[in-house]
């Protein structure tokens, strides 16, 4: 009699024990016996442990890459700022005349780094919605390409792949700038969108302007530099390459730091799940033992 009364209470207890882990993991736990079979939990635990190992390794790799990327970023940032100094001093303004703008979106090929690529895509779409029809897009990197080709395929004109395998080199930026300047359309201005590195936790999509020849020639203090018209095109191409290099390096550093954070969180979550599942595993094991004991005792008392 006592054992009968005790059993529903025990079942309720087992269900409570299940709940936190089940809520965290949203597993399709077989509820048939009201407790998960030991073997299932064991398999689950094993796979989570493996995932934790992978994310931990990726985090370490990203951390080491991050230091390199950050160094490259600080160097390229001062480089890009020096290059832009000319335009600051000349007080160059983006030309007001209506014309198409080329938007160069700097993302990369690799994922698993949180939401930086989607943030980039969102910022691009926002910019495009403000002035619909004014923009053509040139995408660097597969991730943003995949996202933008779904929504703005018509505006896409160029896409580059192979970005972000390693710290971007200036040769990359030069080749991209060349291909952009070889485009048949004449753009009123070129905007380069990249993730600005604020600190290890935060970054925001930022736009840097690469001016057209007319805009440079029309700037108020331009005469002070005594630049011949013939070399102006060179300056523009060079400045474009500089800006792209800057944007690529900064975007790369952001990506690495985002990946580090993402992998850090993933490892932490995996650790949480492991501890929850270990508890669940032990509870279930005990429950199984208790259950069997109860059965034995009931059988023994019945046969007396």
């Amino acid at each position: 009699m006592l054992s009968r009364a005790a059993r529903p209470a025990f079942k309720a207890g087992a269900a409570v024990a299940l709940r936190p882990a089940a809520a965290a993991a949203t597993l399709p736990i077989a509820q048939t016996a009201n407790y998960v079979t030991l073997r299932e939990i064991e398999g689950r635990l094993k796979s989570i442990r493996n995932i934790e190992k992978i994310t931990k390794t990726m985090k370490i790799v990203a951390s080491t890459k991050l230091t390199r990327a950050q160094r490259a970023m600080t160097e390229s940032r001062s480089y890009g700022q020096t290059s832009n100094k000319v335009f600051e001093e000349a007080e160059t303004k983006p030309s007001e005349e209506a014309g198409k703008t080329l938007l160069v979106v700097c993302s990369s090929d690799k994922g698993l780094c949180g939401g930086i690529h989607s943030g980039m895509t969102r910022a691009t779409r926002r910019l495009m919605n403000e002035h619909p029809g004014d923009y053509d897009i040139c995408v660097l990197g597969e991730k943003c390409k995949a996202q933008l080709s779904r929504s703005n395929a018509k505006e896409l004109i160029l896409s580059f792949a192979g970005v972000g395998k390693d710290v971007p080199t200036f040769a990359d930026a030069q080749a991209i700038a060349d291909q952009i300047s070889l485009l048949p359309t004449d753009y009123a201005s070129i905007k380069i969108m990249y993730n600005k590195f604020i600190n290890a936790q935060s970054y925001e999509p930022t736009v840097v302007e690469a001016y057209s020849e007319e805009a440079i020639a029309a700037s108020p203090n331009f005469a002070a530099f005594e630049i011949d018209d013939e070399v102006l095109a060179n300056l523009r191409e060079y400045a474009l390459a500089n800006s792209i290099f800057w944007a690529l390096a900064e975007g790369h550093a952001c990506e690495q730091s985002a990946r580090r954070n993402a992998m850090d969180n993933a490892s932490k979550n995996a650790g949480d799940m492991i501890s929850k599942f270990t508890i669940l595993f032990n509870r279930t094991r005990q429950a199984v033992i208790t259950n069997e004991l109860v059965d034995i005792i009931t059988g023994a008392s019945a046969s007396e």
């Binding site: 192979g162 395998k165 080199t169 040769a171 991209i176 070889l182």
Partner: protein
Amino acid sequence: MAFAWKAAGITYNRYLAVAARVVRRSLKDDKRLAAERRGEMDLRFAKWENGKQGENKSLATANTEAMAQHASGSSQ
């Protein structure tokens, strides 16, 4: 001011890249290897038309071809 490389259809960036490559190659062996790694470029690109992605091509060969074309076009 007329530049010989401009007449050959080479852009300023390409001109810089070639010049940089020459400098890197003339370095001593140990320094050269590290420096040449900075000059590597292995990108692919594709042109898009009307929402369709074109063929994926190597950027380096496409650039040289485009410039050769540009050069022959301007000399005629």
